[in-house]
Symmetry: C2
Subunit: 80 residues, 2 copies
């Protein structure tokens, strides 16, 4: 079973990496970009075969290690 | 229009960040994790209203700036 965790900065938190990418895209003449946000994607391969239990497990991992919940939001997607 | 770019290390490329996360999860007694891969997720807000054109544009951004295509793969998802 596979779990995909997408971690992004909360709205309102300054995303300096995103700003840098935005400036670099402008410098390369990619116009038409309004905003850039850079986050993390963590892919976990789990032994677990129960999707509900796996999601609980991964939620705990996010809360205790993967995400900084003060400034980051996370989304979990469980795939068979 | 929103474009989500998921950038991950190619299979076979050593993912030291993923290994570190895996060790940390083990240390926190999260058993049942086979493998961890850490990638990037870049969310772009585009002026573009044509999905096909937006995807071409973002593909060019990936090739020239966002991804290191020697060691990384990327996936683009266009959302209305």
């Amino acid at each position: 079973m596979k779990a995909i965790v997408n971690i992004s900065l909360k709205a309102g938190v300054l995303d300096s990496q995103g700003k840098a990418v935005h400036h670099a895209l402008d410098a390369l003449n990619f116009s038409g970009v309004n905003d850039v946000r850079v986050g993390k994607q963590i892919v976990l391969e789990l032994h677990d075969t129960d999707a509900k239990h796996a999601k609980e497990q991964v939620t705990q991992m996010c809360e205790s290690l993967l995400a900084n919940t003060v400034i980051e939001d996370y989304e979990i997607e469980i795939m068979a």
